[in-house]
Symmetry: C2
Amino acid sequence: MIVAVIGLGLIGGSMAIESRKSAEVTKILGVDHHPQHAQEALELGLVDEIVSIDQLGVADQVIVSIPVNRIGEVVMQVLDVLHPEAWVMDSGSTKAATCRLVDTHSKRNQYLAAHPIAGTENSGPSAAHEGLFAGKTNIICDHEKTDSRFFEHAQAFFSLLGMKSVFMNAEDHDKHVAYVSHLSHVSSFLLGQTVMDIEKDERNIFALAGSGFESTVRLAKSSPDMWAPIFEQNTEHLGRALQEYIMHLQKFQYLLMKKDTQALHQLMSEANKIRPVLQGIALQNGSKEAKSTQYAKMGLDIDS
Amino acid sequence: MIVAVIGLGLIGGSMAIESRKSAEVTKILGVDHHPQHAQEALELGLVDEIVSIDQLGVADQVIVSIPVNRIGEVVMQVLDVLHPEAWVMDSGSTKAATCRLVDTHSKRNQYLAAHPIAGTENSGPSAAHEGLFAGKTNIICDHEKTDSRFFEHAQAFFSLLGMKSVFMNAEDHDKHVAYVSHLSHVSSFLLGQTVMDIEKDERNIFALAGSGFESTVRLAKSSPDMWAPIFEQNTEHLGRALQEYIMHLQKFQYLLMKKDTQALHQLMSEANKIRPVLQGIALQNGSKEAKSTQYAKMGLDIDS
């Protein structure tokens, strides 16, 4: 069985690494429009050969892991050349626009829309590593549009990665990830920028920052090449989430200025209800015990 | 030497634990207006005896670790009863209001204003633990107002805790922590609340959240009893920081709605400059190697 990976970055490269574990996989082809990334992926042994999309007629499974604004068109090109027993999946963080486009292809049932909730703030072929997906959640969208035999192949592949699957339609997916993922990234990017802006003349002031700041701003290290297209594709849902967030911040500021400490206390007590939710996320994210316990053990803690 | 700790929570309790390591310390007294906390601290062996503030004439060193809105008045009461060779310090997260009040006391030179940048999201005597302060930064404010021999005692105590000291005046302290600590907490509290608000009918949607969300919202677990007074005491600086943050978010939203993806990309690239800053914080926070490396090793990573 021949696997092809388009986009040899963190996600695509890591999927190539996991694919090697399957006894059925005889060859892994790679496609990347950055010649340097392609060369690096070859040297790292992530893939066996670099090819172009029009050569993918030989592939039995194709994985598309590129910025979301280009996924739809690339999946269309792949479907054009795929043989009848082959299938293609993507790993994009937004799904509605891609699915709307691919729905128009006569070979739509050879495509599966997926969003593995995994990654690090690092990117490129050298960031790829084994075990990235183990225990993580994979969101599969509109799976009823995929032929059942390809859906079964896909399930086997996600089992190989060690992932749990969750199913929803593409629109619901985009709405929910706007809140539980994209908004966190925006808040982190802009928190980092706000603080750098104010403190630009006194960089050593960051000596005062504790691990709480570090934790809150960590996502500001994420790749703009990946995130700008995600934000562009999820403008409507993210815009609404951002509006809600700004309203909450403005309400907080109003209470702060009014010196209504009791109302601020109440508001924070409400926010504390996130504790069991976060515990659940830590548990589900593949750790044997909750990560909060791991944090404590490592002495990763919050500044005050 | 007799040490007394007022406020037997995470910080005060952990300082009691570290104080035991000094061969000079013969007894540790505890003061807490929650009878249950006092009892728990006794049972845990954090302190040897529970007393009241007016009995602190026997103490040689007094540590005040209570919510910031009450620190000033309590330090004043302690100074009233302290013997001439004893000193008192506090560990509050805001310093200007406390210092303004204590500056009026005739025994001001027996007081040292400190802010150890350490803590966890847990609170109470049972959260106290050894090693909490090791390698962390301690901010000492207006130290020229403290008698040099007490300042030397204080330096020896912070060495015992394993802390590095940074010096600044109380006003500058409050301004800088508004940005590098308090604003992170506000952003986290309200991000948690925004997402819970929207997703309240679909709690299982958090199954889609990855460790990126977990990291960004972690501070929302912090204690309102501790944070409401901090926000109240730092209204002016925090209000300005919050205003800047909201303006950045609104600018982002404007660019998002305009579909100006290039400008969003540019903005995120600017935010990426936080990367070396965060690396520095991780290094300085007492880990032998940067925590980001530890995160990677543990598979603590960012959802996409």
